[in-house]
Assembly symmetry: C2
Homo-oligomer: 310 residues x 2
Amino acid sequence: MPTLGIDLGGTNARAAVVDAQGQILASTKLALTERSPAAVVEVIAQAAASAMAGAGGVEVRGCGVGAAGQIHRETGVLAVAPNLGWRNVPLGALLAERLGRTVRVVNDLAAAAWGELHAGAGRGAHDVYVVFVGSGVGSAIISNNQLVRGAGGVAGELGHTKVVPGGRRCGCGELGCLEAYAGGHNLIAQARELLASGRSTVLAELAEGDPARITPVMLEHAAEAGEPGAREIHERAGQMLGMAIANMVTVLNPARLILGGGVLMHCPGIRRYVVEGVQALSSTTAREELLIAEAELGDDSGIIGAALLA
Amino acid sequence: MPTLGIDLGGTNARAAVVDAQGQILASTKLALTERSPAAVVEVIAQAAASAMAGAGGVEVRGCGVGAAGQIHRETGVLAVAPNLGWRNVPLGALLAERLGRTVRVVNDLAAAAWGELHAGAGRGAHDVYVVFVGSGVGSAIISNNQLVRGAGGVAGELGHTKVVPGGRRCGCGELGCLEAYAGGHNLIAQARELLASGRSTVLAELAEGDPARITPVMLEHAAEAGEPGAREIHERAGQMLGMAIANMVTVLNPARLILGGGVLMHCPGIRRYVVEGVQALSSTTAREELLIAEAELGDDSGIIGAALLA
C-alpha cells in the first residue's frame, strides 16, 4: 500500500503519495503563508488531501514527515526548527490528530538519506553515508539498514563539527564549524566580504556589483579565474569538506558515499575537492570497497524517504 | 547459560567463562609461544578448556573472540592482524572446528565497547561511543544497541582519521593520522626524538637516559614540568584527540562517551585535554545529555564483550 510523504521546508510544504518502490504517484506543493503550527498543519493537510485525490483517491497506510530541524526521535517534537521559527512544536501529534493517521517525523536529511538508500543512489547497499552540502552542511548515517539517529535524534550534524577552534561564527552560534566555511550560505557570506573589500573584479562583474546576487557558483567562477581571494575561500571550503568527509568514511566504513545538495551539484570544483579529499585522506581499508555516488533523486529524495519511513 | 569469551592479543590468549550478566566465572591466560594459526588455535583451545574446567565444567553456549586487527564481518576472517603477522586467516572457522561450537570473531575494540555497554560504563545507554587510547587509538560506535561495523567490518578507526594532511607517518603507512600524534606508541616515538635532540632534561632523568624506558607518563611529567618540547607534543596530542572526539560526538550524538585505554587511564593531563575539548567543541545539542564516563572493566572489557557477543 502506498504511504504519504511530507517535505516541510521553511517556505513550502509538499505532500506526495509514494508507492512501496519509492515511486511518486502524485504530489502537491503548497506555499506556507503563515508559520504558526496550526496554519502549517492545515497547509500540510490540504497538500496531503490534494495529493491523495491526485493519486485517484488511493488509500495510504501511514505518513512520514521530513522537516529541517532537530527532532526528538520518540515523540516527533520539533525541538528547534530555525526556518519556521519553531521551538518545541509537537508536529507529529498535531498532524496525527489532523490527518487521523499515524505520523512519523524525522530530520529532512535523514529522510533524504533514507530515500536515496531505498530508491536512489544507495540501492543495494546496507551501510551508507549521505552528505548534503546546500545552504547548510548535513549528513546521515545508515548502518546495516538502520538510520543512526543518536540519543537525542540529532546525529549526522557534520556541518557543526569543528574545523578551526575559535574560527568563523556559524549560524548555530558556535565558532569554527565546517558549515561556517563550506555551507552555501557562508560561501555567499564570505564572497560578499570579498566583494565589499574590492578584491574581486570577477565577482563584481558576475553579480553586477550587487552582493545580494552572489551565488556559490559565482564564487567558483572567480576562483577558477584565478582570483586569489576567491580561490582561498573556495579551496579552503573544498579541502575542509574533503577532509571531514574522508574522516567520516574512515570511521564509518560505508559501502557507499552519496553526495548531494545544491553546492555539490552546481559547483563541480568543490565536488572535485571532496572526491579527491576522500580518495587521498580516508584510510585505505575503509576505502577499499567504497563507491562514491551522486544523489539521484534530487529534490525528491526527502519526500520519498519520508514516505518510505512511514 | 554462560558463554566463552576469548581475548586474542599479540603475546597472549585469554579465555573466560562469562555469565549472562557479564560476570567472569573463570579465566585462563596462556602465552603464545608460536604464532602460526594452528599453534594459536591450539593455545586458545587449551585456555578455553582450562577456563571451563575452572568454572566447574559448566556447559557454555557459544564462543566470541575479540582480536586486534581487521576482521571480515560475515566470515570471521582476520584480514590483517599486525600483532600476529597474519593476513587472511579464517580464525572463526578454524576455531569453530577445533572447539566444536559456533564462534564469532570481532575486532578487540568492538568487543571492549560491547563489554562496557552491557556490563560496564555503558549500562543503561543505547547509543554509546567508546574511545580507547592505548598504544593505538581506536573507537567503537553503538547505535540503538547495535554495533556499527561498517561495510567491511572496519568501522571505528578513529586513530586513522587524518589530522594533518601529509603529516607524521603512522604505523598504518599513511600520513597525518591522529594515531601518529596521539597513540601511545607514537607519543613514545616523539618523546624519543625529543630526548635524542637533547631538548628534555626531565625525560633524560626520568628515563635515566635510556630511550627504551620512555613512557607516555614520563612525557606528561616533562610537559607538566614546563619543558617546551614535551609540552608541545603533549598538548598537540591532547588537543587533537579532544577535537576529533568532540567531532564524533557531534556527528553521532551518543548518550554516553566512554574513555579507556592506557594513555587515557594513566595520563590525566591528556584525559583533561580530551574532556575539555569535548565540552568546548562538540555541538551544544549533541552534548546536551552527554555523559562522559571512564571505562570500568579495565582489561576485562574485551573478553566480557566477546562472550556477550557470542
